[in-house]
Each structure stands twice: as C-alpha cells, then as structure tokens.
Amino acid sequence: MKQWKKPNTISMLAMLTVVLVSTLAVTLFKNRIDVADAVDPTQPTVAPTPIPRAWEARQTAAEHRSAEVVPLVKEVLKETPAQRRARFGDKVPQIEDIEYSYFLLNNPIIEKEGNLYGRVRFMHKKHAGILKDCFICHHHRAADPKAPDISRCSACHQDSFNAELPGRIGLKGAHHRQCMGCHKKWNRGPVGCTECHPKNVPDHTNLVKLPWNPKPTDVTKECLRCHDVQAEEMLTSTHWLWKGPSPFTEGSEKRIDLGKATKTINNFLIHIASNLPRCTSCHAGYGWKEATFDFTDKTRIDCLVCHDTSKTYVKAPLGAGMPDLKVDLVHVAKKVGKPSRKTCGSCHFSGGGEDPVKHGKLNPFLDFHSSSCDIHMGGLGFECHECHKTRNHKISGRSLALPVAEGSRSCEDCHTAIPHQGKALLNHHLNRHTEHIACTTCHNPFYAKCDPSKTFWDWSTAGNKKRKVKKDEHGMPDYDWKMGDFRWENRVKPAYAWYNGKVKRHILGDKINTEGVTVLTEPVGDIKDPNSKIYPLKFMGGIQAADAVHNYLLVPHLFGPGGYLETMDWQKSFAEGMKAAGLPYSGQYKWVETIMYIGLNHEVLPKKFALSCVQCHASLRTERSCGRCHQDKHEVDFKNLAFQGIDFKILHGKGRDVQERVESTYYIGFEKLGYKGDPILFGGRFKQLPLGWRLGSKKE
C-alpha cells in the first residue's frame, strides 16, 4: 500500500510542477506580447477613442479618497469659533480654496462594522456655497501647528469608541450628527436614510427557494412570500397600470386615467390598443396580451425586470411581458437587488421600438462609464433611482411625452436654484440666468449625443417593397417598407421653448388641426409668464393617419396576426385598431402631419461643455471688456470669461459631427422665443438690463 502511494504522490507533484511552470511561461509570454504591442512602432497609431478618459477622473478620485484611512489626530486645539476666526484674520478659507468639490462619504472604518446602506454622494462645494463658512463643519483643528488647518472628517473621527479618547465620536456618528443635525435645524436637506443612501439589498441566494425551471408567476409567488406589501404598492403604480394621475397636463390635472394604457397617442408607434403583445413586452408584468388582463393579480407582477442584478434577464420582444425562454429564472431570482441603469434601460432606452429611437437622451450608452454622454450616469456612475427617488414603488419624475407622473424631479432638487457656487464674477451672472432658463439649456447643448435618434417618421409611405433602402450618414436606414420613411439625427441642436411645467396634450379622440400641423405634446409657457423658463426640447415630426370624416387620429393595428406589418392593408389595420381603441372608424383615412416635443433632461454634459456666454449673446463677441455695463476693471480677463464653455471645435476633433455649430452664435435664438433680440442689447423679459441703453438710445 505504502509503496504504491509514494510514486503516486511524486508523480502528482511532478505534474503540478509542469502545470505551474507552463502557466507561468504562458503568462510571461502573454505579458511579453502585451508589452511588445504597446511599444511596437510599426503599428499605425490608432485614433483615440471619442471618450475623453479624463472626464471620469472625479469619480475615481472620490472613490479613492473614500477608501483612504488617514492617521488619527489625537489632540485638537481648543478654541472658540471667534478665536479661530481671529487667528485667520482676513485669510479665512473661501469656497475658492476648496480642493475637492465632490466626495463619496464612506470609509473602511465604517465598512468594517458592516453597512446596511450604500455610500452617500456629498456635494462639498455646494454645501460650502450655501453655508459660506467652512468652520461650521470643520469645527476644530489639530493641535499640531504643522497640521493643515482644515482636515477631513476622518482625520479626527474614526472608531466609534476609542478608550483613549472617550469623548470623541466615531466617523459614522460624526457624519450623521453633522448632516442630520444641520438639516433638521434649518429644516432643509434630507434626513431620512434613503434620501441620502441607497439601501443595500441583502443577498437573496439562500432566501429564494424555487424549484427547477419555474414559471415566471412562480417566481413572483416566491417574492410575495415576503414582499406582499411591496406587491400591493406595485398594483397601484403607473409602471403597472400604465395610467395614473396627470397633474401636469393642462385641463386634466385632476384625472387619474390618462396614460399609455388609455388615451396617450404619439407619432412613433401611435397607440397600444390592438398592439398589446408587442407594446406590453415592456410592461412590468406577465402576459398583458388582451385588454382583459387582470390588473389585480399580484402573481403577474414582473419583479425581476426591475430588480435583476445578474444582467441576464430579458423579455421576449413579442411576449406581452413574458421573459425570454432562455432566461434562467432561478439564477435571476437569487440575484435580485436594486434597479440599475441596465434594468430601467431595458425598457426606457428602447422607447419607440428599439434603442435610441424615441428619447434622444436615453440610450444604452448611459450604461457605460463615460461622461461624454452624460455626466451623472456615465461620468459619476449614478443609477436612475438615485435621482428618481422612489417611495412605495412610486417613482418620481415626469415627462413631456407622457401624462402620468408620480412626483417630479428637477436639477434644482440637488443643485439648488443658485447652482453656480463661488465668488467668481461669472457665477454671479450665471445665477441670474436660472430664473429664466433651465439648467439643461446651457448644460445640454445638443442631444442624441452618442447615438442617432429618430426625429421624423412618415407612415404614409409604408408598403413599397421595391424601394431601395439607403443608409444615411449615421448608418441608419431611411426607409422600412413596413413602417415608412424615417429621419435620424445625431448631435442635434434642440428646439427651445418657454415651459412652465404644464403640458398641452393631444389625447386619443381629440379633433386634429385640419388647417395645419397637429401638435401632440407641447410645453405651456410664455415669455411673460414668470414661472416659465426656456427649455431645450427634442422636436419629433411625423405623418400619421387620421379619420377623414371624424377628424381624429387613427389607431392602426400594427403587430401580430392581421396587423399592418403582416397584411399591409391600412383599411383593415385601422378598423381593427379603432375597434380595440373603442372609437368608430368612418372607413376613410387621410395622412396628416403631427409634431411632438420631448423633454431633454438627461445626457447633461460636464460643466466645461456648457454653452458659453458668447454662444447665445452674440453681442459679447465684439466686446473687449466688461466696460459696457461695469466700471472697467483691468484685472478681469473678459475674453476668458465670456468664451468659457463648450468648444464645438474640440468636440468636432473628437469625432462628433458638430462642425456647423463651430463658432455659432445666437444658439438658442432669442427672436423665436419672443425677445426683440439679444437681451444684452434689447433688455430682458421683465426689465431693461442696465446695459442696453447705449444701443437702445442709438436706435431711437
């Protein structure tokens, strides 16, 4: 026995050595190849990616900082705030001295004791700008005179109880007491746990008990075992009902029945009636293929489409919300967690049938780590729910294109109404703008940044199987014989309009404009309305069918058996569609032009790519100094101020087709918005700016 065993052990050892050596050799060899690749001068230099990597640095740096543990300051200088201020004299630290404007509040010190919640994003500079006194938070300094006067929280606050320093509270306590204490005291800012933190979802691997190959509804039943309350909440949500309160739709403020499920109509795929299994493949439920779908059946809720973290869950395209048969539901169910860009995007990125068609500002690129498409999601890794705060499965946020809203979100919720912090001259001027123009007007100067978006859809030309499909300059087809003509656009300059938050909405059954274009959604607002601001909007044009007798828009039956895509027969399609929509069809149709406006609140660019002053105020281009309005100060670099902002030249160099906008002025077009001209020359909407007088008097 012994003798047999010995050679075996030896041979195993030998084999192990061989394996190890060969692995090592392969690794070394591979590394060599990599190195050789990197320095090979014969290779042509590949054009750099259009994504400037440096944009992500802020997030990486913040992550890095939050992972550091600095040495503990044991002794602090005991002085009163007045003494401290006196010590500084007129060298009191200012907002301009801030080194890092953005922090992730987390630390290994906190993590080591476990954490129910994810880290908090802390807008340092914003807080400094509001408080205007660094010493409110940075309340003590180290006794060591060589130490910096202002240090981070974790320099003094570390472990929750240190027997050597019993009076000193720990880092977690310090953060919470400081933040919540101040927010409570001033009745401003969040105090609830999930208002700052995302909650960590416990690992469900061992909690979820499912048989092999369960039905989707079995998965939901398993979820319901613990989450019945959440299911109840879901049953009344707009993501489930596809209808709900429409507080921002003019004339329908009190209604609760508007939505895709009922009367919302658009100029993409028109309406869901008679097209259910296709349209409802994005419904957060299983099997809404007929109008008789039971909206009170909790087991039909699709929990996974939002809560999947495995990134393997997909719905079948024509499946009325059922998952693709290939999905391993047990695996997905065990990996449930917080929704992400990926899960929200699985429906919202592909509005209008497929990726980037509809929104012009939501596209799969947002899931990548790049701020050239969006500073929040791409650059700082925001998940959708971090802004779209959710309570009881009611998700805040609203849209121009859809009436339903369960609360609204705006940039100001985080950035405040005076978002440009600091004493610099420019900030003061920019903050004067925020009453009149939305943040996105400057910070979102063009849309469809990373993907072309459909801006025109002509259904009337559909049906020509012989027509040759051409690819446009973006590589997108200009025609589909089943769906008609399209126009795609890339890096589009938005339309600008006054908008006070209310929307005029055309709903199914409304009379069309027989004289001209029918507007499906339109922002309400006016230059004379103080609540209105200038917003950037996506403009979507279309040609769709209307009933020639009743003069309302028609719902076509497009998908599924007997649908237009199959029969190519409009008469049949309209008859079926209108039957499902519950409106009579006269039998005669005509093609009418429609337009709709879609908001552009995502794809916000980093601040250095916001519009500069001169981009809109052309009159500043010829100025050399601030002298037109102010007593001239020679130390001010006027050019640098007025020209700071997006440089389309750089973007063009990075491969973006924005050439026609290089050197553009009058970007938002004042005349179209109701101004006489550049407000610098002609005055603002409510008051004459002190600066217009020269030109004004010249004119008169």
Binding site: E113, G114, L116, S160, F161, A163, P166, G167, I169, G170, K172, G173, H176, R177, M180, N187, V191, C193, T194, C226, V229
Partner: protein, 311 residues
Amino acid sequence: MEINRRQFFGIAGTMAGGALACKPKKTQAARTLKAPPDPYGCLMDITACVGCRKCEEACNRVNNLPPPQVSFDDPRPLERKRRPVVTAYTVVNRYHTGKRDQRNQLIPTFVKVQCMHCQDPGCVSACIVGALTKKDNGAVHYDASKCIGCRYCMVACPFQIPAYDYHDPLTPKVHKSTFCYHLIIKEGGKPACAVICPVEAITFGKRRQLLGLARQKIKNDPGRYLDRIYGEHEVGGTSWLYISGEPFEKLGFLDLPTRPIPHLTETIQHGMFRYMWAPLSLFAVLGGFMWTFNRKQITGDSEPERKEGSI
C-alpha cells in the same frame, strides 16, 4: 380574570408581608453587592437618538428573530409604547415631553428599551436553577438548557424585561437581550445595536469609563443634559446607562431604589425556605410582591402614556 388575579396576588402579598416581617434584618445585612469588578456597559445618549429603529433591526438580525410585521424602516410602530417581547429584545419608544422647536413642532424624544444587564440582577438571584448568570463582562446570560420555565425571573425583574414563549408548547424559553454575549466575548466585539446606531447614540465600553464619559458630557454641556445618569445607582447599578435632556420620569423610566433587587427577593426566598413553605406559595409570594412593587412604580408615573406602555 383581572380581578381574580388581583385578589389572588393581594392575598399572596399579605403572606409575603408576613414572611418579610419574620426575619428581615439579618438576611439584608448579610448580603453584599454581587457585581463583576470591571464589566462592560453601554451608554445611551437619549439626546442623540433619532428614533430610526436601526438598533431593533440589528438586534433582530443577530438574534435570528422572526421578521417583523412592519418593516424596521417604517416609523409607525413608534406611535404606541412597546415593551421588549419574545420576538424583539429591544424596542424604541417615542415620547413627547411638550418641548417645541422654533417652528412650534413638538420635539420627540426616543428611548431604547432593553434588558439593563443589572450589576446585581434580580432575575439572576430569583433563578433557582442558575439558568441566568451575571458574567464578568457585564452580560446577564441566559442558558436555555438549564431553564425549567418557572418564570421567577420575569417576576423578579424590576424593569419587566424577560418575556416568555407562551405559544411554544414544547421548548418554551425566556427571551431577553443577550448583550450580544457571543460578540462581546471576542476582542473588539460590540453589541449589534451599538455598532449599527447611525448617530452613535449608544457607546459601548467599560462601564467605569462610560460613567466618566457621561459625567464629562454632562459637565461640558449642562444645557443639553440633566445632571443624572440613569443606571448609575438604580437597583445597585446597571450595565446600560442613560443620559438625557428630559426628566427620566417623563420618558417611561421607573424611579427605582438604589438597593439591588436581590436584597428583596433573596430575603423573601430565604425567609420562606426557612419555614419550608411549598414552592407554589413561594411563587405566589414572590409574584405578588414584585407585582405590587412594579404596579406601584407604574401607577406612580404621571405620564398617561404609561398605560399603554405596561404589559
């Protein structure tokens, strides 16, 4: 039922009185404080607590208690006064003492309730099989394997803490805070509630040091704290210490004597065993005594909230 019980205990109480009168002095004088020399403790700063119920959540998790009916994120349970029960070893109660802030809103005060881990615990001395023991690290530890289910501890506890598995017919147990005994015996270990507390309202450390810390806090900020450390002397001292800005009587704290409870319970027990009274009457006597004792504390409290608060 209530009246019957009352009558029953009333009679029992008289008997207890008799027993006490028999031989009180000698046993009392013979007894010394049975407290570990350097135990751990927790200092709860009531002025810092925000009532988030995270401590309840953490307690539920480390003790593998059943999931709660209402989520721990939900503030609704704060609407009534609760006591620790079999499924929750610690609870947070909200009190409105009448103080208002600048916006004229009532300022709530939150108090976390759990076993106080008394220095010389009544429950330990009442336990006739030694299922409850006071450990050197301060924890009052319950050993379910020794427990015979007599529930003397429940009657003996001045804070009405131990709860009993009445609905478990096979292996009923007494339930109360464990002081996370299994965690704190390890170096650097802390009770889960102290770890989770977001505002560090709970400080875990050596009791002696915590008393110093509490005194220091009171001294440094006399406007914020009342000059009293609840648990420093109450029933001979407890491992859990509280400091507050509101009078303790308004926050559901019992005004207890500084004498350890065993003085009383043991007096009765010794007295009774001397005369070889039947165990049943022993239970009755003990129960009656403690019941009237606690009752007095409760009814003596001016707060109407106490009514809901008592079990």
